[in-house]
């Protein structure tokens, strides 16, 4: 069993989830509460990474993060290194790939908040920012948990995008899904099956954790 690949997978999924929870919250807030022209269009763009086939996203990410793309170019001029084929590179890819799954359930949760709670918060002098942090977030725990579950599991299972921008470098960018793919192509079906079985305990453990947190917040 390719333990190194499983390790990279888990690391990638955890980093992606952590980063996305922070990025997605304000985006979801804006989508839930603000009105501005072209909002639906912006929203559609945010969800696009989900609608596009992963290989298409991967293809555009290569262009963007390659030495001739602006992201890759800036990165190279700053660090001298390449963004593609590094752990950082697949992390960025995985984050972009999973944004919609982070944003959508959070938005739904924020929309469900009882308006009277927000009224009460404003009366108590909270700025919109403070009300967001102290009222909306704590009262949306189950929606945020939904986000976290979706993002974590989705990053674990990410394949097409990482196949494009990863380059299958052991310990760096070779995640378990790629290892499985290689095993299938080599007709080593039992290795593929074993590796696939490895996903069950991982997702099980993560779900237990999230459910625990979720329940704590409600008692």
């Amino acid at each position: 069993m390719d333990y190194l690949a499983l390790y990279v997978t888990i690391k990638l999924a955890l980093v992606t989830t952590a980063v996305l929870m922070v990025i997605a919250a304000p985006i979801a807030y804006i989508l839930a509460y603000k009105h501005f022209p072209g909002k639906s269009f912006v929203e559609a763009l945010i969800y696009l990474p989900m609608a596009l086939p992963p290989t298409v996203i991967g293809f555009y990410l290569i262009i963007l993060m390659g030495p001739r793309g602006w992201a890759g170019g800036i990165w190279e001029s700053l660090t001298g290194g390449s963004l593609l084929f590094t752990f950082l590179g697949i992390t960025i890819a995985s984050i972009i790939y999973s944004i919609p799954f982070a944003v959508q359930p959070m938005k739904a949760a924020f929309q469900k908040i009882d308006r009277r709670l927000l009224d009460a918060a404003y009366i108590l002098g909270l700025s919109k920012r403070a009300a967001f942090l102290r009222v909306i977030i704590p009262n949306s725990v189950s929606g945020i948990a939904a986000s976290a579950v979706l993002v974590f599991l989705h990053s674990i299972g990410a394949f097409g995008v990482l196949l494009m921008v990863g380059g299958s470098i052991p310990g760096q960018t070779k995640v378990a899904s790629i290892a499985i793919y290689e095993a299938v192509e080599m007709m080593d079906y039992s290795a593929a099956g074993f590796l696939a079985l490895g996903f069950i305990p991982i997702s099980y453990a993560f779900l237990l954790l999230v459910n625990r947190l979720n329940e704590d917040s409600r008692t």
């Binding site: 009882d114 009277r116 709670l117 009224d119 009460a120 404003y122 009366i123 108590l124 002098g125 909270l126 700025s127 102290r134 009222v135 704590p138 009262n139 725990v141 917040s217």
Partner: protein, 237 residues
């Protein structure tokens, strides 16, 4: 600091239109039939609703002026507001609710004792009775040292004795608070006991005769025909 307000708002079944002033340390009690606009008035004072026209002035601050398009948001008005449905944050226990915006957390303990809910500090709102929730909401409003206190039927869920006790406490507090207090109630005794001034609100207008008609069962008022069948109790409670 004196609150003075002139409010106009078009509602579906009547137009709200009235004005009043209330100086520091004084309590104005609003009373009147259900659906008459009391909560709407309070929400406008709080900044949660906008009048269609008029002005709200607090001391030398203009909180609202339709003509000059001024609308200070509720955050900046620094008020205490006990909602009619005593909204508390469901994710926090009673103590954290009251301490939520407290100037000095130590005062919360004092207030909890005063309002007789100090044994419930650690409970979440859905784990206490309606009256206990309501008392916590009052503590929350008082703990933030408001410049203006708005109480929308704060004692409606309380039994007579508790109510009478708290009513007294409130009267005592009023002096120490040194801020205008606007109080909505259905209880005429309570209104008479607490009020420095009574503002009867009927269909969105100040109707000074309403109180009189209700109390004295003036002929023609609804009170007569119905009240006549009622046993004449003279409880001084």
């Amino acid at each position: 600091m004196t609150l003075s307000a002139t409010l106009k708002k078009r509602l579906k079944y009547f137009d709200l239109e009235l004005s009043f002033t209330c100086p520091t340390g004084r309590m104005m009690v609003m009373i009147g039939p259900s659906g008459g606009g009391k909560t709407t008035i309070i929400r406008m004072l709080a900044g949660l609703a906008k009048p269609d026209d008029g002005r709200i002035i607090f001391g030398d601050e203009v909180w609202f002026d339709a003509g000059r398009c001024i609308h200070i948001p509720p955050q900046k008005r620094r008020l205490g507001y006990v909602f009619q449905d005593y909204t508390l944050f469901p994710n926090l226990n009673l103590y954290d609710n009251a301490a939520f915006a407290a100037v000095d957390k130590k005062e919360v303990d004092v207030l909890f004792e005063l309002f007789k809910i100090d044994h419930l500090k650690k409970r979440r709102p859905h784990m206490v009775s309606g009256g206990e929730r309501q008392r916590c909401a009052i503590c929350q409003a008082l703990a933030r040292h408001p410049r203006l206190l708005l109480l929308d039927e704060p004692f409606s869920a309380l039994d007579v004795i508790t109510r009478r006790g708290l009513r007294e406490e409130l009267k005592n507090l009023k002096g120490k608070l040194s801020c205008p207090v606007i109080y909505v109630t259905h209880d005429i005794n309570e209104a008479l006991f607490l009020a420095d001034e009574i503002l009867p609100v009927v269909d969105g207008k100040n109707d000074d005769g309403w109180l009189q008609r209700t109390i004295t069962r003036e002929p023609g008022s609804q009170a007569v025909s119905r009240g006549a069948r009622e046993p004449r109790l003279s409880l001084v409670y």
